[in-house]
Assembly symmetry: C2
Homo-oligomer: 160 residues x 2
């Protein structure tokens, strides 16, 4: 059990965080990044510890779950991650038999990929972890707020 002194210390520890969230310049951007950082740190920390899947590996699987036959280059363009990192992630996923890499019959430079059965099975474990983390993040918002937030972010993402 914590002493009153420890509680004071803890409050002081959060003081700068609150101050930054309330008063830093470029307020919206700061808050946005703060929330995004918290989200990815918790999610990828958990995925790596519990399932041994890294950020880049999850991103590849996520893209393949949305569209089978996606290539590494397309993932790089869509997610703003360097393609050599993705290349490594792809190799790791392939070695774990979580994805299958085909060769585009008409363009031999491209390697369309897809989740394997094992990959789909694993992804079904990963997805709820992301959903849980999102739920925790959105916890303070009611249904209408959530809908509006998602729409606002969509507007921004569409042109930025």
């Amino acid at each position: 059990m914590k002493s009153p002194l420890a509680q004071v210390d803890e409050a002081e520890r959060d003081e700068l965080r609150s101050l930054m969230l309330a008063r830093s310049p470029v307020l919206t951007a700061f808050r946005l990044n703060y929330v995004a950082n918290s989200f990815v740190a918790r999610l990828y920390g958990r995925m790596e510890a519990e399932v041994g899947i890294t950020r880049a590996q999850f991103i590849v699987m996520l893209c393949l779950s949305v569209r089978d036959g996606t290539t590494a280059q397309e993932i790089a363009d869509a997610t703003q991650r360097p393609k050599n990192s993705l290349s490594r992630a792809v190799r790791a996923l392939e070695q774990k038999d979580l994805i299958e890499r085909r060769l585009d019959p008409v363009d031999h430079r491209r390697q369309p990929m897809g989740l394997s059965n094992a990959g789909r099975t694993l992804f079904r474990r990963l997805e709820p972890m992301a959903a849980e983390q999102e739920a925790a993040m959105l916890a303070p918002l009611n249904a209408e707020d959530r809908k509006r937030l998602s729409e606002l972010l969509m507007k921004m993402a569409a042109t930025f």
Copy 2:
């Protein structure tokens, strides 16, 4: 000038991005991270190229601009960055004479820091760059939307 074919290619290149923004699981989190990633990539890319200030260095200066006398440990807690990275950033800023490091007279472990005059001058160049990037990010939103977005993010950041 681009050929019609090139335009088609460009549309195809964005296809996965649009698809992910519209249909990926954990939609709100994906959009949030997409926007946040775009923001930091552009901002820190520009700061590093034009002013030679890294992400960690900017974060330190930002915290000091909000509260003089902040310590490295407090910045680590408030911004979720590892303290050894911050330690390096602090040393780099000190060598450039952008910050001053004092010694807490009552607790000699702590080193409260502050922007130097040169640091304040440089920060006045950095801040508009962040503001511009934020403005670009928020461009599709009207004044009311912006206010609401910032409030929603504040609610989330307060407890997450």
